[in-house]
Amino acid sequence: SQTIHQWPATLVQPVGSPLSLECTVEGTSNPNLYWYRQAAGRGLQLLFYSVGIGQISSEVPQNLSASRPQDRQFILSSKKLLLSDSGFYLCAWSSWGGAYEQYFGPGTRLTVT
């Protein structure tokens, strides 16, 4: 069966510091991968998605970036965090080629102070 991991679970970082959040998927090959941010416990905002290694699409202009160095690894980064980057970050995967349901990781709660 497929599983998705995210770490760390919680993170407190000062403004201006760098960020690296990691997501890995097991039990599937060539998944589509997604990063979402959720503010105030409500709707999810899609930040980035990837359909393959090195292929990243950005949905929202911001100071975040994403990379996919391996088939089942997705990384969210920032060089300098802003207060507005605080939130709940969720990674998700879906099957390549047509299945639309996405499955989410446990999330990282980021607080920028």
Binding site: L44, L90, Q102
Partner: protein
């Protein structure tokens, strides 16, 4: 731009009540509508709907899609305190695998 509106935003009921959550959408080249339940952390997948009028059912939860009127409902019968969660609706349109989410309905079931 695809859009999803959920109502109500918040709902408080007593155990045993039946609830109906609403989701309306505007999307180019509709492909599917999905429902998720989110408790403390990751949203968990409930249903995917692609055809009008066909009810999907899982235990006390059921959902149906109306592609003519562009909405879906999620019904929960005989609610339990464990049903307390945020219920999220999302649609897939032209973009293929990308989901556009609504703001969610916060359901609280009191004993």
């Amino acid at each position: 731009e695809d859009k999803v509106v959920q109502s109500p935003l918040s709902l408080v009921v007593h155990e045993g009540d039946t609830v109906t959550l609403n989701c309306s959408y505007e999307v180019t080249n509709f492909r599917s509508l999905l429902w998720y339940k989110q408790e403390k952390k990751a949203p968990t997948f409930l249903f995917m709907l692609t055809s009008s009028g066909i009810e999907k059912k899982s235990g006390r939860l059921s959902s149906i899609l109306d592609k003519k009127e562009l909405f879906s409902i999620l019904n929960i019968t005989a609610t339990q305190t464990g049903d307390s969660a945020v219920y999220l609706c999302a649609v897939v349109g032209t973009s293929g695998s990308r989901l556009t989410f609504g703001e969610g309905t916060q359901l609280t079931v009191n004993p």
